[in-house]
Structure formats: C-alpha cells, structure tokens
Subunit: 253 residues, 2 copies
C-alpha cells in the first residue's frame, strides 16, 4: 500500500432473488469492478441480498459507512418486487418523493407506449435529494444521492449508467497491474512469491492457477498504485522464475 | 412463506481479490445457489471480500450466525495469499492443525511431482475439528467443520466438492418454481403481478424483463415450497394475463 495517498473504495450491493436462486448469472460484479478500477476506486466488498427491505437496508448502511461510495444494482423497475428505492431511502433516513424530471422523462418515453400508469410512475420515485443518472437504453433513470448510486440490474442498462457516470466521481491513483504467466504448479514456487511480495511493500502478488492443455500453470498478477514499484516487483519476480529454471510469459498465459 | 416448515438457509463468502478487481468473472454464486436449491437449502446472502483476514473473519461470523450453513470459496491453495483456513479458524476460535489424512493424501498426490514442500503442506492445514471433503480434480481437499464448509475457488474444483457433498447436508422442502414468459412490458402489468402475489401468501413472484428481437418481454418466476399453492398461483396469473389479452408461454421465453 502507498501509505501517503488516500485509497478510494466502493461497496456494491446486488439486490436480487434471481441471483441468489442461481437462475440468473451475475455479470455486474465484474463490470462494476472493472469500471471502478479505471476511476481510481477499489471495489472493497460486494453483498448479494434478497428482495427483502431490511436486508437491503442493513447491507447498504454497512457498506456505505465503510466506503467512499456505495453502489446498488437491481430492484429499480416498475413491479412490486422492485423495492430498492424505498429500502435505500429508509437506510438514508429520507422520504421517497416523485422526481419531477424523472416523471417528465417517463411521460415522454411512454407517450406512444400507452402512457404512464401506476407501475411506470414507480420508476420516478427517488430518495429525497437525489439526482438522476441518464439511461440511454430504456426509460427509467438511475439515481444518485451523494455517494450512494442506484443502478439497474439488467447488465447492458447498468453499463449505460456507468458510462454516464464516467469521470463524475472523485478517485485516487488507479491500481496498476501486470501479469506474468508461467507453466508451473503454483505450489512449486509458493516460497518465491511470498519472498518477492515481502520485499516490495507497495505491491501485492495474486496467484491464479489454471489447468489447460493437460498442463498446470498459473498467472501471477502484481498490483501497485506506483509505476516504479510495480516494475521493480515484476523484475524481481521474473528474475526469480528465470533463476529457478522456469520460462514465463509477460502479459500472462 | 410456508410458516409451518423450517426454511434452511446458507450464506456464501467468496474470498478473492481477483473477483473484486474484475479480472475473474465469478461463476461460483450461480453454481452454489443452484446446488443448494436441490438440497432444499436457500442461499440467503453472498459476500465477496478481499484476501484480508479481518474482512474474512467478519463476513464468516456474520453469515454463519444468520444461517444454518456457511460456505466459502477461494483461498485454500498453497500460496501466501491463501489465508482462508487461518481466517476461518480465527472466526471459529480454534487453532489451525495439520490434518493427518490431508497430509497423507497430498504426499501420495505429489509423490511423482517433486514431493511435499512448505507451500504444498499448507493445503493440509485445517481448523481443528474439521473433516475433509474429497477433491477428485486436484490434490487438496475441501474442509468441513460442522456447518462451515470451505471449498476451492476454481469453479470446476468447487463443482467436484459440491458433488461430494450432495445428500450430506440436512435441508428442507426444495423451493419449487415455475416460469411464465410473456411478450409484455412488465410495467404494463405491474398491478396484476402485485395482486396475484398478494392473493397467494405462500408464493413469491419475480419479474425479469428482457429485450430481444427488437421487442420487450418478461419472464415471471413463481416460487413456493408447496406444489398446490404454486399451481394455484400460476393458474391465477395465467388467467389474469389471458383476461388482459396477453399471450403467454409456460416454461418461459
């Protein structure tokens, strides 16, 4: 860790019985994580909770207190199981209001689709004091209230909202990484990884084993916020692998 | 909810910087969730935490206290970033020991691969009082201590461990589900979904919208532990869709 620089962190609460039932495979963890990296913000924890208000409130409060930002995905649609706005408003201690711009937006969007009804108007509800996040994909906007950001659960709509937020959030130095791939059982060189990491205090080394083409191998991911520290750690690791007689592949296998 | 029958629940802690960085796409939530359904156990919450001992301890303790079972995936390999066993032992308040059967197993596995070394021996370490879960895929076993179950993070190895656990855990009535697909914007029939769910207290209806072939549609998933309640709720929903003039597809679209 670079002790001098502030590390910006985010928590993510995924709201959805459909993920917990195994019916839907989550795609939002990876896309939110990847997007956050570019903003210089680290994803510190993810919680997947059911469509139950008190469970959402608990997760939202735990992760927003522990992090600079709190994101949610899911549960902001028009149906009875979409309770994210109410739960987050409860967590924040503010009432739910109809946002006039969201209402106007939905009126335009549904003008030639049968008009607004009770369900559709639900998507104009926000915790008081919120701004809207544009949604290029479908009618209902995302919601931002300070460091709390509510996004849709359908991955391509989530992606559009992340796009709209790009460059809008304060972050720190992005976490840099380099990957070294090697056809070696990670258990053969565990001591080397440990030693190299210990010698480079601003770097972390992750070891990700795989089994391909009938052979075992591993990718070693070196992470740091400092370019020079990162290069030095990579250099030491590659030296160590070469000295031990292993071929390695910069960029990973 | 069927108030008479006990609902068995599980929590899942996914340990891995590689998921939080976005580098690796999680596949374990869906496969653990699907497997649990068949065992009659509901996945109640998932937390993804980094390779940091105190964060693992906190998540493990929170979810094992709230649920009948606690599963972890990841962090039980041979390298310095594999700290799950130590963190879980700390959470359980027991020491880490070398399990003699695990050691024997690893000795056999590595006999023609260079033998045991310090890193490989790490994979024989377990919280005191644990049993082993067979691993058909690679050498290192999973670990079970009462209702706490530690599995590998690599999905096909996790799958093998789940296989070994099949039928070993006590569960309740499996949650049954039926899906009805409909080419309708869910916002058009939000009121119908709400009414039908309210009229069937042992059932939940989830609404999962999609956009395909240039048209919007949704799958409605009706869940219950009771066969008759489920059938009645499905019947009422289909009747309501037909009365409103919508075609629907049993089994989903």
């Amino acid at each position: 860790m670079n002790s001098g620089a502030k590390i910006w962190t985010a928590g993510l609460v995924i709201i959805g019985d459909e993920i917990l039932s195994g019916r839907t495979h989550d795609k939002n963890i990876a896309q939110v994580a990847t997007w956050l990296q570019v903003q210089g913000i680290r994803l510190a924890e993810v919680r997947v909770v059911p469509d139950v208000a008190e469970r959402i409130v608990e997760a939202v409060n735990a992760l927003r207190e522990a992090n600079d930002y709190l994101f949610t995905t899911g549960g902001i649609g028009p149906t009875h199981d979409d309770i994210t706005v109410d739960a987050v408003a409860e967590a924040l201690g503010v009432p739910v209001i109809i946002h006039p711009d969201a209402r106007a937006l939905l009126e335009r969007y549904y003008a030639d689709k049968g008009g607004l009804n009770e369900g559709r108007l639900r998507m104009a509800r926000v915790p008081e004091g919120s701004d809207l996040i544009p949604n290029r994909m479908s009618g209902a906007p995302g919601i931002r209230r300070g460091n709390v950001i509510l996004m849709a659960g359908v991955p391509h709509i989530t992606a559009g909202m992340l796009d709209a937020l790009t460059g809008e959030l304060e972050g720190g130095a992005p976490l840099l990484s380099e990957t070294i791939g090697c056809w070696v059982a990670e258990s053969e060189i565990a001591h080397l990884l440990r030693e190299v990491e210990a010698a480079h205090e601003n770097c972390q080394i992750g070891s990700y084993p795989f089994f391909r083409e009938g052979r075992v191998g591993a990718n070693f991911v070196i992470r740091s916020t400092d370019t020079e520290d990162l290069a030095s750690c990579v250099h030491t690791l590659c030296d160590g692998l070469a000295t031990s007689g292993y071929d390695f592949t910069p960029g990973g296998i």
